[in-house]
Amino acid sequence: MHKYVIKRLLMLIPVILGITFILYSIMTLTPGDPVRMILGDGATDEAVEQMREELGLNKGFFEGYVDYLKDAAHGDFGKSYRTREPVFNEVFARFPNTLKLASSAIAISIILGVLVGIIQAVHQYSILDNIISGITLICTSIPDFWFGLILIIIFCVNLKLLPASGSDHWYNYVLPAITASMGYTAGTIRLTRSSMLEVIRSDYIRTARAKGTDERTITYRHALKNALLPVVTLIGINLGWQLGGTIIVEQIFAIPGIGTLMIGAVRSKDIPLLMASVTFVAVLSSLINLGTDILYAYIDPRIKAEYSK
């Protein structure tokens, strides 16, 4: 198991190298000059040249990339072109907001998703099952931005219950979390339902019934643990997505998170800031994937045996 974890952690190195290289290529090879963007159209050629020197943009393509990696290896990821601050100051200032939004959205999707999914599976083909299936279909089809705006109209404009923007208090996150979680919750419900239905039909559930086990124990003990595997995968993927920042939700509710930070960096061609934030998110996603895979081993002993090979 330890060996497996170490192996997976070492695999992060090529991932990071790949991501930084692709980002660096895109940012340097596409048209648009960050220096001109910063100084504006009226800047003199000398000023531009001087700034270019300062930011290290006068180097060749490969030289620039290698230098970036060298500095990064020493913990220096560069300074933002705009704020002139070390880039990770900015990233770490923004990240808690994204983390709060992501964790509450995912928590909603886990609790509601798994619970409703189980209820649906147990009452397959009932009226309740059909109604919930209809609702989840609608929820997966509704776009975030529309749903967010509708929530704002109802709860902020008409009922005046919750604020439409901000990130200082817990109640600022209620509407964004609901908006962000809607699609994930619907997905989790659908997957839990189908996964449970598959497991409930299996032979070992019949064995459990033949032992005289009651339905509740069968559902929540015998079936759920087996049905959770694909659901855990989905939740892991969702969490990865969420932590990468939901640009739309952050924009609608004016939450200063990672998503808006990245968009800003792309617009102003702030190369060090963008590379730092994207790499950070990528590493985080990889770690969540690893966490999901480790969690598998605790759910299914067969996978644990596979890992220790």
């Binding site: 070992y204 019949r206 064995t207 033949a210 086990t213 009651d214 015998h222 759910i299 299914d300 045996a305």
Partner: protein, 330 residues
């Protein structure tokens, strides 16, 4: 020994789906005494498993229905019991061993936990240590080292898994054991081991057993009584001697024996029974076997035969109806 344990009368089971109704078991009657072994033999789809599931009342929900009949276990009709009462019977008075040991154990719990669960369910007031002790005993009884109870199903071979399933089924010393093709999924050497073990344990605990199989060799080795099933009915039943050595048989039984390859005579081909089992949603009129019967008569397509009994050996066939009393006495 002659005390009746289970008596099924006129059992009819149907599977209903949107498209069709499948008549899986039709007017089936059988009985079994305490400690006895009954072999239920028939082709795939004859309704053997359905009969067993009806006794457990574990027919697939919302699809399988007991339409008619009574199932008396120790003088009480199981069909009238509530789900809660049935839960107390399952695993304690009646246990079932399923066909495929590879899939009958839950992959995410240790085998020890799974065996302990039955004991926990049916013996209130037993302490953890007592339960664990009983699990160890059971493992020993089925010939597995008790230390292996902390392992998971995937760490065992098929034969070992079936031993665990048997340990689970016998944990509460049931009065009746339903064994649904317990050896079909195992290879032949393991089959013999498992069968011998089941027979020994059954004798030791004085458990009655219904052994469902399509393997006549297995029946010859283990059963006191035999019932042959075809298209949801029992078409012949009697003691093992009646079936294997008796001199009057249902043509289907004759066909079954005829299809066993004989090692002493040279033969290039196998001798199967011609044709296929009838579609259970559209059973033939009269005798269900008539389309495949080599001795089919006019009356067979018109009227359903009744049972002709001689000395406990019953055959449901028109061949033995009127003037054929000599045949019966044989």
């Amino acid at each position: 020994m002659e005390e009746k344990l289970l008596e099924i009368k006129d059992l009819c089971v149907e599977y209903k789906t949107d498209e069709e109704t499948v008549y899986a078991v039709n007017n089936l009657s059988l009985s079994i005494n305490k400690g006895e072994t009954l072999g239920l033999v028939g082709e795939t789809g004859a309704g053997k498993t359905t009969t067993a599931l009806s006794i457990m009342k574990l027919l697939p929900q919302k699809i399988g229905f007991i339409k008619k009949g009574t199932i008396y276990m120790n003088g009480q009709d199981i069909i009238l019991k509530s789900e809660e009462e049935m839960r107390k019977i399952r695993g304690k008075d009646i246990s079932m061993i399923f066909q495929d040991p590879m899939t009958s154990l839950n992959p995410v719990f240790t085998v020890g936990e799974q065996v302990a669960e039955v004991i926990k369910l049916h013996s209130e007031g037993k302490s953890k240590e007592e339960i664990e002790k009983r699990v160890d005993e059971l493992f020993l009884m089925v010939g597995l080292p008790a230390e292996r109870k902390t392992e998971y199903p995937h760490q065992f071979s098929g034969g070992m898994k079936q031993r665990i399933v048997i340990a689970m089924a016998l944990a509460c010393e049931p009065q009746l054991l339903l064994a649904d093709e317990p050896t079909t999924a195992l290879d032949v050497t393991i089959q013999a081991q498992v069968l011998k073990m089941m027979k020994d344990l059954k004798d030791k605990l004085n458990t009655a057993m219904i052994l469902i199989t399509h393997d006549l060799g297995v029946v010859a080795q283990t059963c006191d009584k035999v019932a042959i099933m075809y298209a949801g009915e029992i078409i012949e039943h009697g003691t093992a001697e009646d079936i294997f050595e008796g001199n009057f048989h249902h043509p289907y039984t004759v066909g079954l024996f005829g299809s066993i390859p004989d090692l002493t005579t040279k033969s290039k081909r196998l001798h199967p029974i011609e044709g296929l089992m009838p579609d259970p949603s559209d059973l033939p009129h009269g005798c269900r076997f008539n389309p495949r019967c080599p001795k089919c008569m006019d009356i067979c397509t018109k009227a359903e035969p009744r049972e002709y009994i001689s000395d406990g050996h019953a055959v449901k066939c028109h061949l033995f109806s009127d003037d054929s009393s000599e045949k019966k006495e044989g």
